[in-house]
């Protein structure tokens, strides 16, 4: 299969799959056509270039590749009746961030950081499949441990947890915000 046809085959597969397709899976699928890992990676790069001017792009999400609309088209799509427009409260976002960065983490540890009760928020995030129970901590009382899910990566468009900005980056960002000369009250 020539590189151009391979890129189209990859596009067809990604288009037809509602969920991110892992690289290994693509290699499995296209191997019979003579494509190895390297060839599939090249096909993905070629596809990305081909989609440059289009409404849709290839994104690496939750350990796989997926076609997604570019964010600038959100306004038209918001009017579409597609499932679940998602809204996140501050409480939910803070709790998610703490679970994402500190996982596996107990409810008490999350509450220690936020300074408020987080049971309800954790439950609601678990119900939405964004966090999950990943075990019990080996301390007296054996409290439940929470972690983020694959769906969390999918919803926030992250290839993996390593895709989150590092805490150091965040600290640098904060340091900049607090530089003298900012208008008072800027937080």
């Amino acid at each position: 299969m020539d590189p151009e046809t391979l890129a189209r085959a990859v596009e067809a597969v990604l288009f037809a799959s509602p969920e991110p397709v892992p690289l290994a899976r693509l290699v499995d699928l296209l191997g019979p056509e003579g494509a190895d890992r390297q060839a599939v990676l090249e096909a993905l790069a070629r596809l990305e270039r081909a989609l440059a001017g289009r409404a849709v792009e290839v994104r690496e999400v939750a350990g796989g590749y997926q076609l997604r609309t570019r964010p600038e088209f959100a306004p038209f799509l918001a009017r579409l009746e597609v499932p679940r427009p998602v809204r996140f409260s501050r409480a939910a976002l803070e709790t998610l961030a703490i679970v994402a960065y500190r996982q596996p983490v107990t409810r008490a540890e999350v509450e220690e950081v936020r300074g408020v009760d987080c049971g309800g928020v954790l439950k609601s995030l678990a119900e939405k499949g964004l966090v999950r129970i990943v075990g019990k901590k080996d301390v007296p009382g054996r409290p439940l441990l929470y972690g983020t899910t694959r769906k969390f990566l999918e919803v926030f468009g992250l290839a993996s947890l390593a895709d989150l900005p590092s805490l150091q980056e965040i600290e640098e960002l904060l340091a900049q915000e607090e530089k003298p000369g900012d208008p008072p009250g800027a937080a």
Binding site: R68, V86, R90, V113, G115, L164
Partner: protein, 257 residues
């Protein structure tokens, strides 16, 4: 995301505070707001002043009939305690020992601020189903096959939700049995069966093999009871090849019925 979106913004002016919206995410959020607003050095917080301002906000919240959650009151007490500790004479100049009474609070404030910033970064990302969209259906020409080794999508929380529903409908005795949590013997039974699964077929296992050295007493008893239970259930058979010889255990092959 504005950090105070959905929370309260307290706008300070000469007359005091006006409260917009309902409440801060919590006492740490409020404290950070006050510290940043007055541009205090977070590593050298003027505790007396910040306590005063903090209490003023709580008062305003009360006046406006806003619920002041207990966490806010706990923090007020903490601040007051730090303030009083700071009034105590410093324990000599050989210091090192005498940690700044504010240290723990500063650590928590910085950690919270970091996580709050991380949350803002998260909120800035395009969210699936809000800013970006994937295909919401599978092409009809694509065969949907349930592979034997397909990943199983499961999460404990859903299992628990289902179980709670079971418990609501279940007969009383069932609920009582679950409450007694007989899990540990069951767990030992499962482990023993797994040992047999990996053991060479037919040879069986020496009784002692199930009790590795340094096994705790409780664990010994549990394992022993588990073996008895498995024998009773006829999942295991006990054989002694020679009189007084080694006791060996064999898994009983189960035929489907």
């Amino acid at each position: 995301m504005e950090h105070d979106e959905g929370g309260a913004i307290l706008v300070g002016d000469q007359a005091g505070y006006r409260v917009r919206l309902e409440g801060f995410e919590g006492p740490l959020d409020l404290l950070l707001h006050l510290i940043r607003k007055h541009r205090y050095d977070i590593y050298d917080i003027p505790i007396a002043r910040i306590l005063e301002e903090y209490l003023a906000v709580l008062d305003t919240m009360r006046v406006l009939d806003l619920d002041v959650a207990s966490e806010f009151l706990v923090m007020a007490a903490t601040l007051a305690e730090i303030k009083s500790r700071m009034l105590l004479p410093k324990p000599q100049e050989d210091e090192e020992e005498g940690e700044d009474p504010r240290a723990e609070l500063v650590r928590r404030l910085l950690e919270y601020e970091r996580m709050r910033a991380a949350a803002e970064r998260l909120a800035d990302r395009p969210v699936l189903g809000r800013e970006v969209f994937a295909r919401s259906f599978r092409a009809p020409e694509l065969d949907e096959v349930e592979h034997p080794d397909a990943p199983i999508e499961a999460d404990l929380f859903r299992l628990l939700l289902a179980f709670r529903d079971v418990l609501e409908e279940a007969p009383e005795t069932f609920v009582e049995d679950v409450a007694r949590e007989r899990i540990s013997i069951q767990e030992a039974m499962q482990e023993i069966l797994e040992i047999f699964e990996t053991a060479p077929a037919g040879a069986g296992l020496a009784f002692q093999d199930l009790f590795p050295p340094r096994t705790s007493r409780t664990r010994l008893v549990t394992t022993f009871l588990a073996v008895l239970e498995l024998v009773r259930l006829r999942a295991l058979r006990v054989m002694q090849v020679t009189p007084f010889g080694e006791i060996r255990l064999f898994a009983v092959l189960m035929e489907e019925s």
